[in-house]
């Protein structure tokens, strides 16, 4: 520390303010040692497990060999990226990711809003709580369990639905290994898991509406539907817009574990998304550099979308995410 101070002393003139800044810092470090010590494990964590992997991204521009390490591996520039763009898989990955995201947007997104509007109209508090308890629960189940439940219900051989169909004399249907139903299936799964959870934000927004507004509307002869349309919906409009824009920013994210677990050979054409592709080319085939490049491409697009979305949210006068 003292050698630092001496070096600072040799700097003359207008650097004094910088120098006093340094001295301040040093004395703060000495005085509040215990505070910095407290933060140390957390800082080390972020450094090692969040920032070192960011540095590891450079293997996307190398021909990485595990034996030679990052230092010894050869540089190949943007080769892996041009490889990716030239790969016929690329269009497929993009299509699948977008399709699942858009289905989410169309089917999933409005669903919690509708449920919230309904829950908000319930008169019995006990009944409302009962329903909430049930529809929140799937949020806490792992994707492995949800994929397992799906299989037990829909499998062609022994699934409950198909057992019922045979009982009624209908044909067995093939849902899980059918490329036509895969996208809708995963969207419905996500709805089952998260729709109830998604109501929390909207219900909170609705709870903050001044009840006098409803009183006044009733005086003016507005029925429930009119009250929902003119009071409740405008009250949650800003929340809806913020969440919608953020959802758009997350369009490259399609629930990796879910897709990974529902993936099977029969649906690979429609089920391969960027993350599953990274896993397959990287972990299974050991092509570390190429798969890192694919992952990096996805992350960068995702980052740009999130930043743009956040900017939009702020431009509308709303509080952004950061």
């Amino acid at each position: 520390m003292s050698s630092h101070g001496q070096r600072m002393n040799t700097v003359k003139g207008k650097q004094t303010s910088a120098r006093s800044k340094w001295l301040n810092l040093l004395s703060s470090l000495r005085r509040d040692q215990s505070l910095y010590l407290l933060a140390l494990p957390g800082i080390l964590f972020f450094l090692v497990f969040k920032y070192i992997p960011m540095w590891g991204i450079i293997i996307a521009f190398q021909d990485y060999s595990p034996f030679r390490g990052i230092q010894g591996s050869e540089w190949v520039g943007l080769l892996h990226f041009t490889e990716l763009f030239a790969n016929p898989d690329f269009a497929l990955l993009f299509r699948n990711t977008l399709a699942i995201s858009l289905l989410n947007l169309i089917l999933f997104f409005p669903f919690p809003i509708l449920i919230s509007l309904g829950l908000n109209e319930l008169k019995s508090v006990a009944y409302k709580r009962l329903i909430q308890t049930i529809i929140y629960m799937p949020h806490f189940l792992s994707w492995v369990i949800i994929a397992g439940l799906t299989l037990l219900l829909f499998a062609k051989g022994t699934g409950l639905i198909n057992e019922l169909f045979t009982l009624w004399g209908w044909q067995r249907v093939d849902i899980l290994t059918n490329p036509d139903s895969f996208w809708v299936m995963v969207t419905l799964q996500a709805m089952w898991k998260e729709a109830g959870w998604g109501t929390i934000v909207f219900l909170a927004a609705m709870a903050s509406v001044d009840t006098q507004l409803y009183e006044a509307a009733r005086m003016d002869g507005a029925g429930r539907l009119r009250q929902i349309w003119h009071i409740t919906l405008p009250a949650i409009r800003s929340v809806i817009i913020v969440l919608l824009i953020l959802r758009l920013g997350d369009i490259m994210e399609v629930g990796f574990e879910q897709i990974f677990l529902m993936y099977n050979g029969a649906v690979s054409e429609v089920a391969e998304v960027f993350d599953t592709y990274v896993y397959r080319t990287g972990i299974e085939q050991g092509d570390f550099s190429y798969s890192t490049a694919v992952g990096l491409f996805k992350s960068v697009i995702g980052l740009v979308l999130v930043v743009v979305a956040n900017r939009l949210v702020k431009r509308m006068g709303q509080e952004g995410v950061y």
Binding site: G42, G56, G118, L130, L152, G223
Partner: protein, 290 residues
């Protein structure tokens, strides 16, 4: 009380019925799996569809829990959930508390760097290579160390500590109490409700951890319950689910699967009522990211 018009009353009942139906539909898969897992194996084999069993039985459970593979994976997950949660809370809350103190010099830059990790992730492969370089492959700590903290939790915890009166920390420091002691003996006990909520979310996260285990643990003896479940439910693979000194007949595979699901859900269901009242607070900020 306002007198309701007839149409309004119909509308309200309709709404209540529709929501009730929705809840029933959402609850049904869990109900079905629960009921079948407790059905007499003979009855299940005969009927295939059981909504109300005539004969109850815990055979699937006794069989499942007596297999070493299943029991071991439960133990692994219990270790993960308890040790992981305690470590996560310690690391996250200490950093968050330090960052909530005005005299911490680098707080702005550190907060920025932490938010950056929320926005940008380097992807699966660099993380995998790091864990490998650290020699953590096939080590249960590979599931704990990289999951110790995350940007969102630290951000939320810092917000929470910001809401505590600053006088507490100031008074303690004037009395000569170090920041570490203040954090441990004053701030943490004051934050018990928040810590419980964060802790339970961490615990559920560790209990449900699947992908990291798939990546980092090759040795099936170290598998947590979710990886075992995946193999049982989705791969129908040849994991060793054989009870020692086998005398009972093996219950039908479907029933074993359902019993396994129920066992894996059970801990979550037990903690669920305790977290439920903290939902709104936690989810309001957390759900923005989804």
């Amino acid at each position: 009380m306002h007198r309701l018009k007839w149409s309004e009353r119909v509308g309200q009942s309709l709404n209540a019925v529709v929501l009730g139906l929705l809840a029933v539909v959402m609850f049904f898969p869990l109900y079905y799996v629960f009921v079948v897992s407790f059905t007499d194996p003979g009855e299940y084999l005969q009927k295939k569809i059981v909504l109300f069993p005539e004969h109850w039985s815990v055979e699937a459970y006794t069989y499942l829990l007596s297999t070493p593979a299943f029991a071991r994976s439960l133990g692994n997950s219990a270790f993960l959930a308890t040790v992981g949660t305690v470590c996560s809370l310690a690391v996250s809350s200490s950093l968050a508390y330090a960052l909530s103190q005005k005299r911490f010099q680098f707080r702005t830059i550190l907060m920025f760097l932490i938010v950056l990790t929320i926005l940008f992730s380097p992807g699966i492969i660099p993380n995998y290579l790091l864990v490998r370089e650290l020699g953590l492959i096939n080590n249960i700590w590979a599931l704990i160390l990289p999951a110790l903290a995350n940007g969102w939790t630290v951000l939320l915890m810092k917000n929470f500590f910001d809401s505590l009166p600053a006088e507490i920390s100031e008074a303690a420091s004037i009395d000569g109490c170090s920041a570490i002691r203040t954090w441990y003996t004053i701030v943490l006990p004051l934050s018990m409700p928040a810590l419980a909520a964060f802790g339970l979310f961490f615990a559920v996260g560790y209990w449900n951890q699947f992908f990291a285990a798939l990546l980092y643990l090759n040795d099936s003896a170290k598998w947590p319950i979710q990886v075992l479940l995946q193999n049982m439910l989705l791969n129908a693979s040849n994991i060793d689910l054989v009870a020692p000194g086998q005398q009972v007949e093996t219950p039908p595979t479907e029933m074993l699967k359902m019993a396994a699901i129920i066992v894996a859900i059970l801990p979550v269901l037990v903690v669920y009522p305790f977290i439920q009242k903290h939902f709104a607070k936690g989810a309001l900020i957390g759900s923005v990211k989804g």
